[in-house]
Symmetry: D2
Subunit: 346 residues, 4 copies
Amino acid sequence: MIAVLSRTAPLAQKAAVVRIAEDAGLEVHVSETPTHCLIGLLGEGASTLVPRVEALDGVIEVDRKAPPYMIVSRTHHAHRTEVRVGQARFGGDAVHVIAGPCSVESREQVLAAGDAVKMAGASALRGGAFKPRTSPYAFQGLGRQGLELLAEARARTGLPIVTEVLDVRDIDAVAEVADVLQVGARNMQHVPLLRELGRLNKPVLLKRGLCATLDELLCAAEYIVSAGNGQVILCERGVRTHVDHARATLDLAAIAVLKERTHLPVIVDPSHAAGTRALVAPLARAALAAGADGLIIESHPAPEVARSDKAQQLRPDQLTSLMDELRGIASVLGRPLGVDAQEAAA
Amino acid sequence: MIAVLSRTAPLAQKAAVVRIAEDAGLEVHVSETPTHCLIGLLGEGASTLVPRVEALDGVIEVDRKAPPYMIVSRTHHAHRTEVRVGQARFGGDAVHVIAGPCSVESREQVLAAGDAVKMAGASALRGGAFKPRTSPYAFQGLGRQGLELLAEARARTGLPIVTEVLDVRDIDAVAEVADVLQVGARNMQHVPLLRELGRLNKPVLLKRGLCATLDELLCAAEYIVSAGNGQVILCERGVRTHVDHARATLDLAAIAVLKERTHLPVIVDPSHAAGTRALVAPLARAALAAGADGLIIESHPAPEVARSDKAQQLRPDQLTSLMDELRGIASVLGRPLGVDAQEAAA
Amino acid sequence: MIAVLSRTAPLAQKAAVVRIAEDAGLEVHVSETPTHCLIGLLGEGASTLVPRVEALDGVIEVDRKAPPYMIVSRTHHAHRTEVRVGQARFGGDAVHVIAGPCSVESREQVLAAGDAVKMAGASALRGGAFKPRTSPYAFQGLGRQGLELLAEARARTGLPIVTEVLDVRDIDAVAEVADVLQVGARNMQHVPLLRELGRLNKPVLLKRGLCATLDELLCAAEYIVSAGNGQVILCERGVRTHVDHARATLDLAAIAVLKERTHLPVIVDPSHAAGTRALVAPLARAALAAGADGLIIESHPAPEVARSDKAQQLRPDQLTSLMDELRGIASVLGRPLGVDAQEAAA
Amino acid sequence: MIAVLSRTAPLAQKAAVVRIAEDAGLEVHVSETPTHCLIGLLGEGASTLVPRVEALDGVIEVDRKAPPYMIVSRTHHAHRTEVRVGQARFGGDAVHVIAGPCSVESREQVLAAGDAVKMAGASALRGGAFKPRTSPYAFQGLGRQGLELLAEARARTGLPIVTEVLDVRDIDAVAEVADVLQVGARNMQHVPLLRELGRLNKPVLLKRGLCATLDELLCAAEYIVSAGNGQVILCERGVRTHVDHARATLDLAAIAVLKERTHLPVIVDPSHAAGTRALVAPLARAALAAGADGLIIESHPAPEVARSDKAQQLRPDQLTSLMDELRGIASVLGRPLGVDAQEAAA
């Protein structure tokens, strides 16, 4: 249950709500949107307080049917959140592409990838230093050395870096280099990780689990946001179904449904859904046409020698021509692609 | 196993292959593509004939790994099939939209729908006279009276008619009115129906079953084509998964994969995948961006009083503005939308 | 909406309900359970009649929330339906096994299968004369000749025959031989077939579609029952999921849920869910332990030469030892296995 | 690729294999089964070493097609692993039930639960102190205080304790109390957790993820086992599918398939698959009948006031009567239920 006050209500009014809740043994979560102050009253017995809370000065409404992801919900937060990544704003008018290799493999590889990705017009560089792998014997990433190479690529290209974190004990090291910390599909419900990321002041890219519902994804985002970090970008990357001609089934209806339920930006990863190079471009175009705020695409200077996801990474020339198509589709929807002067100046 | 000969090989050479197969007790299927003559040799023991068949005059190749849908496969039939519907050619350069109400409900309704759909630029009018319904107590369509109303709408608008057939005993009546006979998802493996449709000389729109694999869809098409009717349009309409925020999960990777495996045209039905009006436009745009040859969209003059699929049919103005977006996306891919002068003249 | 009267209410009282409904333009369906007379009032505007119908003499209750499968529902029909097949009663205390080959292949094969199945203690013999096959080039069954062989096996063993029907035009021929007409998973929503089977006075074995919900299965049964034939046995045979280590995922929770929602008997087909011989016995045991009223199991005198489902048919000795385990499990649940003296005498 | 030597081969022979692999820059994993020494050679270029390794003294075989879970695979380890938990041996002849509440809620509750579970004949007590919850606002367990209460229940009942661990930083605290550390479905691919558990000398109960394949589950087990801890019990708990009448679809074919692929014991959690009390007993019976080595069942002294999983926990009397049925089914399969004199003495 949520008590809704104006953001500008006097502190005393907000405190009165908190006091009543705490006296009743409830847990209290306060969050402030651009326009409102939302006070979540959580626990058994909350509903018995409704009349008393409704009667308090400054309380506009008591919402008894708030979803379990009350802060990321649009119900009392119609204003869309824009997450700043370098000069890009995810969730704004423009759509943005994050591109780069699955794994950081060597200095040469990551610098070449960074150059190619920048040339193609991407807004950020992705690359995995810590890799979550199904088998313990598969390449697990270069780890901290990989982070250093990413830092070098950033210095050279000026592109912000998106990279994954798997272990709560690595968060500080990753946060030192990353502009966006990625939580992979396998870790969508890795709660200690979500909570610790909630203590950072850096954007988090949260991927949907392979069979997660949208409400589970939004609750995972709520773990981060309720811990204090509102800069979350959601990412659809395909769900596991009986379909066996692609690595996962991209759920493009999720974009519109998420944008109805939450004010957070929503991007799509066509590469992991595709699993093969030939499907990446059609799915990338489709995702943008369906209304995604951006894409994250795997691209490697020489995919045939990649140490992971060999079959699905685009060659630089493929990325470049895909970007042209994406620009066209974005423009049909009235959206620029990539960082433009106006955004850079903002 | 398939023996591949040139289409222009002398009949005696083709007959020699058939004779050897029949003598060995095999079933034989002959089909001719624009360039080749494919002779399927089916049954146990076919493989023992390989050396003898390979040695025959005119036999270019014996393909032992042919898929079970040998005629609709692209393996020996690289040329794409174009299916003529009115002035439109599905599978050609242009993309086409079929639109109209879920069910034919009344004369007034279907004529209004026809006018609106024509005005919006659709290439054909859909409308169900025989409706497959989950419950025996739901509206099952106007039946033969509905067919007459569709005939009237065609006369008035000039648009070709797409309508579903459920029962082998109705095929003649439906074929008298329909320009395209639709096989619904529930009937994708209704074999007697497929076989009878294979005896017509009219296009068939074959929808993918709710949990069919692409090979099962192609085998269903093969039932029609192997019975003599090559005019089949495939239609992706969503698969059933754990996802519960849309009526079905649209599998857009299927488009590119189907176009790799078969020479038949592939269209998409975003309406039944969506289940709610708000999702139709994003999914329609996505399907076109992913490479579909066309779309089939439910549109009703007054969806709020529709007798079926109330929640997902577009109003005429919604259809019109969607068509504008679709035209833009098609153009990014270098494809015109709808029947153009060149196509009409062809 | 359903008006519930006592079965023994005077005809005049029942007729009064029907008259009001028909005057209001509603469709009316009457069905009688052992204890009640249920009058379904179907169509828009039904709810406005509630007060008038409730006020009629003999009307016990007006149920506005009846499910769309009102006759097969247990809501007003707590008494379980028992379907008589030969001497067996499906849905009674005993559990029954139907066994036999996937396809009828030859006189020798089907007679050997019948003997083995009888020896093992099965209550009925299955065998396909008309086979629904994914590929048009696969063995489609011996057709009417297969039916004759089944008739011969019945004469020899005394076992009732279960066999599939695919085409409305074959129903009479199949019904002449079959004691139970089977509707396969692909045809669960083949409405013309369901309706015609509803006009027979013979049991129908209705298999759940590969991705059907239980309510869809019950609605399919309602098509048969509302057309006049109450002898329907439901069959769970696995649903299609991302799981790839079995041909389908057997949904054993469905048994208890179905038995809560409907009074019809529920059996399980472990063979098609398994897809390989080694999984048949564990799944058969599990199905019985979960509360199934019976099983339908594929068994072939020599599976290695079978013309279909080679990998999953049990050898006669495997069937026999499985029957022993099944007898033990049934006994833990207090149920006899197979036709006993009491049932035969009933 | 795996080089297989006898377990009793001289150390010098084993070392020679390791040396060649290391010289070629490969990663090497050595594991010893009761009968063999398996040396995994991992990395690109391994295959070029085959002739040299095959020629070494003591090398029985070089297996190039070993699965990515080489240690938990049965290929070179036919002997079944038995995992000792208190007096029980999971994976031995007997089947065992672990029972207890979803969450530890209070001293009174957990002691009452422990007494009831012991009385019913369970072999171990489960109870969650750290709870993985979808929503950040749901009850997250009593944490370390919960562990203390579990320790008290163990002291009182003598039953070994099974409890979940979510965070690598809690492992030591949990391991101090737990006899078995549970990894929940959400954490099946939480690699840092798996690796740390691999350093313990305590059994780990590893639950299958909601949409994990069996090979993914086995790879997750391999992370633990390859880090040094061979005491892993696998647990099937249902997969997420389109089926909506149960919380998950229990995949009982998985039991037999897992027991074919791995030597580790396999148990089943019917409670989380069921989601409602009425489905727990049928699914529990089915799982045992399908060949499970044990079950983990939620049971609460007063489910109606439980703080989590209220709908699916069994009352003590329900657990007791289920245990009777389970004993009967186990006996049909020739297996005792629970710790018997022979096992206790072993």
